[in-house]
């Protein structure tokens, strides 16, 4: 009995000291971290409360005007069904007649617009949605996309994905892959083009580029670099394009335009 009392009393003193020491340590570090150091940084015209909030990580409402700057609204993971219903392709074919003037009756363009035959459905879907949502802007495309419904966009994506990828007559085989495509430029934080656009790996939402018009490819890279196109997820393409030199942009555009075959499905 006596032993138990002894154990209990010694435990009580352990509890008091352990909790006490922990509380003091926490209080001292909180005092330093939330009050003394932020105040010592000495931001003028900042109240004590504001500096505590800053130390706690409370975001201050931004004064940057973000109006008109919007990212893509498309959730690409589940944007399109993996196997589209057959009637969807049929409806898409009808709708695609209005696209043929630029993108070609077989989805292969003679007007420096992208070739869409066999493009991943996610890609076509995302771009049409971004045009419709005014996240990507083009004097030519925006008016077309404006009136498309969600179902229309699904159907067009399914239709173009169903078309056969054909060999292109504009190809100039034998152009060696430039470094930017194969290895990127790690020192400038540029991943290889091929790590998203095929050859190394395909990332969801990234189009294949082989055989696209050199003018189109160059223009898009420049638009990303200048920030006039901004519908890329997480600014991936803008970050890449901004860091690319004019020579690299030219080399990448020439290389992809010269490839004879779009990738096999």
């Amino acid at each position: 009995m006596e032993e138990e009392t002894e154990l209990a009393s010694s435990n009580k003193s352990w509890v008091v000291s352990a909790v006490g020491i922990t509380l003091v340590l926490f209080a001292v570090s909180a005092l330093l971290g939330f009050i003394i150091f932020p105040a010592a940084e000495g931001r003028e015209s900042e109240s004590l409360w504001a500096s505590i909030c800053r130390a706690a990580g409370l975001p201050v409402s931004s004064t940057v005007n973000t109006e008109g700057i919007q990212g893509t609204k498309v959730a690409i993971a589940n944007a399109v069904p993996s196997i589209p219903p057959g009637e969807s392709i049929g409806r898409g074919a009808t709708l695609a007649q209005q696209c043929a003037i630029c993108h070609g009756p077989t989805g292969v363009s003679r007007a420096d617009a992208p070739n869409l035959a066999g493009q991943y459905p996610t890609v076509t879907y995302k771009q049409l949605r971004d045009f419709k949502d005014h996240v990507r802007v083009s004097a030519v495309m925006s008016p077309f996309a404006e009136h498309l419904t969600e179902e229309n966009i699904q159907d067009l994506a399914a239709y173009y994905a169903s078309l056969q990828r054909i060999e292109l007559k504009t190809a100039k085989p034998g152009v060696a892959a430039p470094t930017i495509v194969v290895s990127g430029a790690p020192l400038r934080g540029i991943a290889p083009c091929g790590s998203c656009h095929g050859a190394i790996e395909n990332k969801l939402g990234s189009p294949w580029l082989e055989g696209q018009s050199v003018v189109y490819l160059r223009n898009q890279l420049e638009a990303f670099a200048q920030g006039s196109r901004r519908n890329d997820v997480n600014e991936q393409m803008r970050n890449v394009a901004r860091a690319m030199t004019q020579e690299e942009i030219e080399a990448a555009a020439q290389y992809y335009a010269s490839k004879p075959h779009p990738p096999e499905i």
Binding site: N11, T22, L32, G57, N234
Partner: protein, 540 residues
């Protein structure tokens, strides 16, 4: 006496086989990103390998070692049969199954997201589900450790829990609580996105959750090593443990302060306030305390052994130590690596100094030196010490074991010292490719090449270790007697209740989690503007 030998051997064999495979991947990674190899042209292969290496070395290997060793400690220190052996097998099978389920998508390139998950990258759901299975398997072990101790305590009222078991259960409680962070991240955030139920993820919140797990997991890996320091080393070299109480205090300090400090991994993250970063930095400094206590106590214990063997003088006793004993050698190497690794860790934990090395190769060098070096070399020692008791056969030549330990030590120093150095030069981590022809990177080339050779030495040592254990399965039959732990200089007669149980320390650990993590988590969880689109890996 060990009754569950098959169970313990199964844990160790699975752990070490997985370790051998992951070690090969690690050496390959060192090679391909060094100037010794041409560019493999496909970074995805590198990240695939890195994901497998990290997942096995971080989740599977140390967890199995802690579990196997935990079962051995339960039976030998409490001198009672393991209660719940079937459950223990179920936990083992869950880990085996989880490892396979996780590794299949990783091998197929469907989950090259690295073992730290790094959302908004999202891989195949099976990868995450596999990791969850591994954690659930280990939670069974946590439950069993707790139950076994409780039953023993009922049968032995008022007796001091043996130090090995006290530490073992402290480690299991630490793991149970620290795994909650990653579990919340996986179950609430990553898996729903991975299954396609959601397409955006709060990457900042996910990183805060992961930091909850990420630092204390290292202390969970470290527990078997520290248990070996306190309870195997003094016995193996013929000495006494200097202080049993010091051991208890060290382990409860780990339990309390190893976990609420993880935000020092997120010093460069904008979503956490500087005040919380400072608090975590201050508490990280505290976690040096149990390590310093341990170094002092073990050095004192080793000195006792030396003096018992006739060692004299203030430093002369060092020569009287049994240097041919593999355990002696292992603990010496472990301390040297712990010393350098710990010194490097002081840089990482400081909010200010960390900015010079954050996200550089310094960090990878640091955790390989601490985990791969100081911790894993003691896993080898534990296996060497336990093996004859598990197989009932002698393990064979000590010369081979010493060679293996020397190679591991030399290999780890050659690997990690240049690794730290290139980090100071600014070489970033997690990169698949370095163009050493660039003048900016040329000064790093030689160090990286040397480091890769260190990796090759580690492979030789790792496979020598496997060969020694394998040979041990077929060695000469030999009854090694009952397995015992070190005796303390003054064996505890009466231990304060606080140092014989965990309630107070678990309460403090949870309390500090609330104070140190509560606001950063709530703030991010309650805001609706902190999510970003997921980046899916390996799908089109």
């Amino acid at each position: 006496m060990l009754h569950s030998r098959k169970l313990i051997l199964a844990h160790f064999w699975l752990a070490f086989i997985a370790f051998g495979a992951a070690l090969l991947l690690g050496a390959w990674q060192m090679f391909v990103r060094s100037p010794l190899s041409g560019w493999i042209s496909n970074p995805e292969w590198y990240y695939r390998s890195l994901t497998a290496h990290g997942t096995v070395m971080g989740y599977v290997f140390p967890t199995l070692v802690a579990m196997g060793f935990g079962y051995a400690i339960t039976e030998s220190s409490l001198k009672q049969n393991l209660i719940g052996r079937r459950w223990a097998w179920a936990g083992f099978l869950l880990i085996l199954m989880g490892s396979v389920v996780a590794m299949v998508p990783v091998s197929m390139g469907l989950a090259s997201v690295l073992y730290t998950f790094y959302p908004p990258m999202i891989g195949n759901p099976l990868y995450y589900i596999g990791v969850v299975l591994v954690v659930v398997g280990s939670w069974i072990w946590v439950g069993l450790m707790s139950i076994n101790l409780r039953i023993w305590k009922k049968a032995h009222p008022g007796e001091a829990v043996p130090l090995a078991m006290f530490a073992n259960v402290a480690g299991s409680y630490l793991w149970a609580w620290t795994a909650v962070g990653a579990a919340l991240e996986l179950l609430l955030q990553i898996i729903p996105v991975s299954l396609g139920l959601k397409s955006t993820i709060d990457a900042g919140l996910a990183r805060v959750f992961f930091s909850w797990t990420l630092h204390a997991i290292v202390y969970f890996w470290l527990m078997p090593t520290y248990i070996a320091y306190y309870t195997i080393v003094p016995r193996a070299i013929g000495g006494r443990l200097y202080s049993d109480t010091m051991g208890r205090i060290s382990f409860i300090l780990f339990l309390v302060v190893a976990m609420p400090i993880g935000i020092h991994h997120a010093f460069a993250d904008p979503q956490v306030g500087a005040g919380f970063k400072f608090i975590h930095s201050a508490f990280t400094a505290l976690v040096a305390l149990p390590t310093l206590l341990t170094v002092f106590t073990i050095c004192a214990s080793v000195e006792i052994a030396a003096r018992l063997r006739g060692g004299r003088g203030p430093f002369g006793w060092v020569t009287a130590l049994p240097w041919k004993n593999p355990i002696m050698l292992a603990v010496a190497f472990s301390f040297v690596m712990l010393g350098f690794g710990g010194a490097g860790g002081l840089i990482n934990m400081s909010y200010q100094l960390d900015t010079t090395i954050h996200n550089t190769q310094w960090i990878t060098g640091h955790f390989h030196l601490i985990f791969g070096g100081a911790i894993v070399i003691m896993y080898f020692a534990i296996a060497y010490d336990l093996w004859p008791h598990l197989t009932g056969r002698s393990l064979g030549s000590e010369w081979l074991m010493r060679t293996q330990l020397w190679l591991w030590f030399i290999g780890m120093i050659i690997t990690t010292f240049p690794w730290h150095y290139v980090g100071i030069l600014g070489m970033p981590r997690r990169m698949a490719f370095f163009d050493y022809t660039s003048p900016a990177l040329q000064p790093e080339a030689l160090s990286v090449a040397i480091s890769a050779f260190g990796g090759f030495i580690l492979v030789i040592s790792g496979f020598l270790f496997l060969a020694i254990l394998y040979r041990g399965q077929f060695g000469e039959r030999n009854e090694p007697g009952s397995y015992s732990f070190a005796q303390a200089l003054h064996m505890p007669q009466k231990v304060p209740a606080a140092l014989n149980g965990y309630a107070l320390w678990v309460a403090l650990m949870i309390g500090l989690t609330v104070t140190n993590y509560g606001y950063p988590i709530l703030q991010l969880a309650l805001r609706n503007d902190t999510s970003v689109p997921a980046v899916y890996v390996g799908v089109q």
